[in-house]
């Protein structure tokens, strides 16, 4: 899909387009919580749904052009099912790994969505899991799992054999409180969204604490319950500032680079819906979807409910080939795609 040339540019990030539509079944997303990009370029979007309507528990396969390539997965505890699906990663061979933070297991599928196997043992001992949330593959194709209620990271082979781990609960340097997302940087360091402490922590692969990014608050450079992190080749850090309903970028030293708030437009699937429901489209066209609600006294945290283009609980950030930033916009059931027009490091230096 071509980028929208006139999209607003915030620093080096320019909004491009939106993917997806709310849908409980089939083509669409229902409270998506994460995505990953397969070697063939397809996007696998993980739907969490909710207990009141569990049909949206599925992985939807799409691409940047709005193609639909099917779904797999469903609610439950049987093989290939999820209860609280939390994260998705795809390895170099196209195998798909989905973590379930309620069932304490990782399920593995082939690229078509056929269930292959699962692993994971509940507990707090070495190699055991209590709430596997975020996941990341390192350069050796080993799987790092955020074992969030045990406040630690654990490294496994893709077959589930425990290799190493580190982490402790707390608020001190390098300690974590209900961590969520994780990424392995091109340089090998691990960056963890330390959700409960409003920061991102950086560690060496051996678990040595390097530094943190962010801190509690809603000002530039501050975070409120960050859920996901991505790191580019220059070491700049992209954070899903989930509680503040925005995405922020930091330079490698932790300096604030920019924040984006969401600029969603109609996706191809959204247009399809409205083009076949013309009365709704006409009523929508007459509506003000970008009201200045702050002037009406609406609390800032309620703004994304009223302003449809805004991120609402952006839960995951993923970099696609260094050219695009994909933001999973959970409460709006869509993906917002930003183009990187320069490196964050250049933008920061500029």
């Amino acid at each position: 899909m071509d980028a929208t040339a006139a999209g607003p540019r915030v620093g080096f990030l320019r909004y491009s387009y939106t993917l997806g539509v709310a849908a409980m079944e089939g083509r669409g997303f229902y409270y998506p919580v994460d995505l990953d990009i397969a070697p063939n370029g397809r996007l696998y979007v993980l739907g969490r749904s909710h207990e009141g309507d569990t049909r949206g528990v599925q992985v939807c396969m799409t691409d940047h052009d709005g193609g639909y390539h099917g779904v797999f997965g469903s609610i439950g505890e049987a093989d290939g099912q999820f209860t609280w699906a939390s994260a998705i990663v795809i390895d170099g061979e196209g195998l798909v790994y989905v973590s379930d933070e309620y069932l304490n297991r990782i399920s593995i599928f082939d690229e078509s969505g056929r269930f292959l196997r699962k692993w994971g043992v509940p507990g707090a001992g070495e190699g055991e899991l209590d709430g596997p949330s975020g996941m990341a593959l390192d350069a050796d194709q080993h799987l790092w799992v955020v074992d969030h209620r045990n406040a630690r990271l654990q490294r496994f082979t893709r077959g589930g054999h425990y290799l190493s781990g580190f982490g402790a609960g707390g608020v001190g340097d390098g300690q974590m409180k209900l961590p969520w997302g994780v990424t392995a940087s091109p340089g090998g360091d691990l960056y963890v969204a330390d959700w409960g402490n409003d920061r991102v922590l950086r560690f060496t692969p051996d678990g040595e604490y390097v530094r943190s990014y962010g801190g509690s608050g809603s000002e530039d450079g501050q975070l409120l319950r960050p859920s996901s992190v991505a790191v580019d080749g220059a070491g700049c850090v992209y954070v899903a500032d989930w509680g503040n309903n925005r995405v922020q970028v930091f330079d490698p030293e932790g300096g604030f680079v920019c924040a984006v708030m969401g600029e969603a437009t109609l996706s191809p699937w959204a247009r399809d819906y409205l083009n076949t429901n013309v009365e709704e489209k006409e009523a929508r066209d007459r509506s003000d979807l970008e009201p200045d609600v702050r002037s009406l006294g609406v609390d800032a945290r309620e703004e994304p409910y009223h302003v449809e283009k805004r991120f609402w609980a952006p839960v995951s950030v993923k970099l696609d080939g260094g050219r695009r930033l994909l933001v999973t916009d959970r409460n709006r059931h869509r993906i917002q795609v930003y183009e990187l027009t320069a490196s964050a490091a250049d933008a920061s230096a500029g």
Binding site: V21, H50, W84, R330, H333, R334
Partner: protein, 475 residues
């Protein structure tokens, strides 16, 4: 501190909240009854609730697409709040100023309405009436978006007078028309799109449409009106002022509060035909209403400290509503201190007991009291209570059993001391003589040889038996 003090505290915490365990009742009784009433009224409704934690695990508690998530979110609050009276008052207003999901079709708007009840539910009744008149869910529910200057829709104006403030017999048909005229132009933003999506139950393309109040001056009838003996160019706020100053309003709200907190009254439509059960109590509450500038919290203070509330004769006279029963049991069993996917199922079970939170059956709300009970709901209620208390893996159940064992002599109890310990530790419960007789007979049957009873197994069985009694269904 006497046994009576703890029992009285049990009565207060069941009515002003969702019950409390014995340790909390003792601590509160130590602090004193009147001080506890003041503390409940002054409590922070957000205490004990971490919204962001809930939103992380339950996306629909934040996004609010449907009814189920909104109900589960509220149930979590009832179980875990440090300000139980605020949740209880929200439940009160949810039935008095009833708005149904069936026509609004979005959880977020309904959650916002309940949050408004939480915020204003214990303040001035005037503010409450203004806020509910501006509430976009109410606008949709009672069609006030179709109430235009020159083309009046009386629905909201009528219900405001009949069910929300004064009751039939205290106004004329002309007052209804004039009231409706005053609320013309009180609508919701983007109303065409909002109403269409609500009607179609559409969540496309990106979820529900936001709901917010909008005043349209160009659609407001600013003409002269005559309302309840007053004349002027009234708008909605003026009408609310006039309504709030009426003695009938004070008595209507007082009777609602008496009905909810003290003893069952007939359903509202019958109020014009049946005088209150305790007219003196209604007078006292109505007096508090005027003495304190229509403040609900001051009416509650008077109510909870009154003899008519504290009297033993009012204890266990009310049938628990499904929300009260479910929230109270979950509190007792220690479930859902943290987010868990099972919460939704418990919220859903209220429906088979006759109460779907967020979706009252009509603008009258729920008919309460003994109307909660029929052969079907009685079975569901008893089964649910027994099921909750029969699972020793639940932290509160284990704590309860251990507590009863300690209080009754660690396996060497008499039948009488075991029964009493069980009733105390389940929340200072009183039962009638026939129930007590049955419980004693059961416990006596567990006495081994010349020894006592009260093993963990005996206690667990007795706890389940208490949960299955008719007395346990009351508060």
């Amino acid at each position: 501190m006497s046994t009576h003090d703890v029992e009285l505290m049990g009565h207060l915490m069941r009515r002003a909240g969702f019950g409390a365990d014995y340790e909390e009742l003792e601590a509160r009784a130590e602090k004193g009854y009147e001080a506890t009433v003041d503390e409940l009224i002054a409590a922070d409704s957000q205490e004990g609730i971490d919204d962001l934690l809930l939103y992380r695990y339950h996306p629909d508690h934040q996004g609010g697409l449907g009814m189920a998530g909104a109900a589960a979110y509220w149930l979590y609050r009832m179980v875990n709040t440090g300000g139980p009276l605020h949740e209880k008052m929200s439940l009160f207003w949810h039935s008095v100023l009833a708005t149904g999901y069936q026509k609004v079709t979005q959880g977020k708007g309904m959650m916002n309405q309940i949050a408004m009840f939480r915020q204003h539910g214990m303040g001035s009744f005037r503010d409450m009436l203004v806020e509910i008149s501006k509430d976009p869910c109410m606008v949709l529910w009672l069609d006030n978006h179709e109430n235009h200057a020159g083309a009046v829709n009386e629905n909201y104006g009528r219900e405001l007078l009949e069910l929300f403030s004064m009751g039939v017999g205290n106004y004329t048909e002309q007052d209804v028309k004039e009231c409706a005229r005053a609320f013309t132009g009180w609508t919701a933003a983007n109303i065409d799109y909002v109403a269409m999506k609500a009607q179609r139950d559409s969540l496309w393309p990106y979820g529900r449409m936001s709901l917010r109040f909008e005043y349209r001056a160009d659609d407001h009838d600013a003409g002269e009106k005559e309302f309840l003996g007053h004349a002027g160019r009234f708008d909605g706020q003026d009408v609310v002022d006039i309504i709030c100053a009426q003695p009938a309003t004070a008595r209507f709200i007082a009777r609602h509060m008496y009905h909810f907190f003290v003893a069952d009254e007939p359903p509202v439509p019958q109020w014009a035909l049946h005088p209150p059960a305790d007219p003196e109590a209604i007078d006292i509450l109505a007096q508090a209403y005027f003495e304190h500038d229509y403040r609900i919290d001051e009416m509650l203070r008077v109510l909870f400290k009154s003899e008519f509330f504290r009297s033993r004769s009012s204890w266990f006279k009310k049938v628990k509503g499904p929300a009260e029963l479910v929230a109270g049991l979950l509190k007792l069993t220690g479930r859902y201190r943290l987010p868990d996917p099972g919460l939704q199922e418990d919220a859903n079970l209220m429906t088979v007991m006759g109460q779907t939170l967020i979706n009252p059956p009509s603008v009258e709300g729920w008919h309460q009291g003994v109307e909660w009970i029929d052969t079907g709901t009685a079975v569901e209620r008893i089964n649910y209570a027994v099921q909750q208390l029969s699972d020793p893996a639940r932290p509160g159940v284990k704590r309860l059993v251990d507590s009863v064992m300690r209080a009754s002599g660690n396996g060497n109890a008499t039948a009488d001391s075991l029964v009493q310990a069980c009733l105390d530790r389940m929340g200072a419960i009183s039962v009638d003589e026939s129930t007590r007789g049955a419980l004693l007979e059961f416990a006596a049957g567990r006495v081994v040889g010349d020894g006592g009873c009260g093993s963990a197994e005996n206690v667990a069985e007795l706890v389940e038996l208490v949960a299955s009694t008719p007395d346990f269904q009351r508060e």
